[in-house]
Assembly symmetry: C2
Homo-oligomer: 250 residues x 2
DNA sequence: CACGCACATGGCACTCAGTTCCCTGAGAGG
DNA sequence: CCTCTCAGGGAACTGAGTGCCATGTGCGTG
């Protein structure tokens, strides 16, 4: 929850948040499919056209922060050192997703109930999860490039990590956000590490939070040049999507 | 009487096949999104309303046999004996999917190319794969009901089996259906069994495989505009984050 | 044979998501 | 004052998916 944060980059567009708030209010009181985009923009008091300037589709308004979280995860993996144990590293990366859910438990629980009952949202969530999985797999493929069956190992471990993470996350969401989600996720990921890690995790009680999971804000590292290819007049979300598909080629 | 097949439900309506054929013809010659349902029904010579009687959505016409395959897999798992080793059993179940793909290699390769380039079809395929994975997980959950963390083990192993299967399957599809897909899938599943099975499969030799074709270059399309963002910042992944925060708001 | 019934199909109109095009108004700058 | 830009709004369009009803066709029953 940001409200009036002091972070310089946190000047979130009020319109975006207003749309999310209006959408969830209507989704909760009359259901997702029974709510049209016109209803949302009417409640938010903005034009219909503006909705699609901020969200590529009606489904995206349900997952307003996943784009950001995926970027964080990708940055986290890109900032990895050579001596990081790969499996442990992707487990830590997966924890970032849990962190995002835990930032706003009541919102996450509401969203979980929504996605659970609306097939269209469930399908959309799958595509979101798939992008996380591909990010993990891409990192592992790089680390396993010299091993035999490196790509296979990478894909399988990435899938296992995502499945373990989601197993713990969903059980936490089903319990309405009660209990310590971090412990549950650590335990689940420990199982995966015990199956795949070269140095398996002992049945550890619970280590303190990893030292630096949060990537530094933008503009702290010098000398980087970035080339982006975008269609003329393309909306923002399309550019983001384009970059991702380019980076995470199958 | 039902002509060739003895199964009572297997009397395939000719209309369904005609729609699939017409759809793929148009998808291949002008693309998925550029083909409307009206185009398909016009080519097939049937009414538009009939299309949606046979396929719940436009996407379903691309995966006309997955429903049957999923039913086969569920039946296969339901017919399991108590003394079947669970991990081996789900690996065998996964092979059913490969079998379906191998029934018609050229069709499968065409469909793979289609789903690879159309995001909407990719998302739809994810939901199909998810149902296979849930079927495997449900079986394993039953078998692991007495073990500690049975649900977790079941979910992780199901995800690993699906990932391994898809890794081999997609590599076979990328090679245009050349080579023995069964061997590749067996090898991939063997890796999963060696990680999870109580009686791991013996290490198998890996067959030589031609490298994957080069991914399509980006930025070559004429309607594209190249935007260069030069900034003292983090690597590419950060840009996703930055574009979102910088452009979307403020 | 006639009638009715079930069922498959086609046609029409409607809702709604998503897009395209154009208009407006509010600044920035000459 | 004029112009240029740009964020937002509005109207109209495309296309997927649905509901309703008319039609044809086969089939059993009286």
């Amino acid at each position: 929850m940001n409200s009036s944060s002091s972070r310089p980059e946190a000047a979130k567009p009020p319109m975006r948040d207003a749309l999310v708030a209006a959408a969830f209010q209507l989704f909760l009181e009359r259901g997702y499919e029974q709510t049209t985009v016109d209803d949302i923009v009417a409640l938010a008091g903005v034009g219909r056209r503006s909705f699609f300037r901020y969200f590529p589709s009606k489904e995206d308004v349900v997952f307003p922060d996943h784009e950001r979280c995926l970027a964080d995860m990708t940055a986290f993996l890109a900032a990895s050192e050579k001596d990081h144990e790969p499996v442990r590293r992707v487990c830590d990366a997966a924890r970032l997703v849990l962190l995002m859910y835990a930032e706003n438990p009541s919102f996450s629980v509401q969203r979980y109930r929504l996605t659970k009952k609306v097939p269209g949202l469930r399908a959309y969530e799958l595509s979101v999860v798939w992008r996380y999985e591909r990010a993990l797999a891409a990192y592992l493929r790089g680390r396993f490039a010299d091993r035999p069956d490196g790509d296979l190992r990478a894909d399988v471990i990435a899938a296992a990590v995502v499945a373990a993470h989601n197993n713990a996350l969903r059980s936490w969401l089903r319990s309405d956000g009660q209990g310590d989600a971090g412990v549950a996720v650590d335990h689940a990921l420990g199982y995966v590490r015990s199956a795949f890690d070269s140095a398996p995790a002992a049945p550890q009680p619970l280590p303190a939070q990893p030292p630096a999971p949060a990537p530094a804000p933008i503009g702290e590292r010098p000398e980087d040049v970035v080339v982006v290819v975008a269609r003329r007049g393309a909306p923002l979300w399309r550019v983001v999507q384009e970059i991702e598909t380019t980076l995470a080629q199958d």
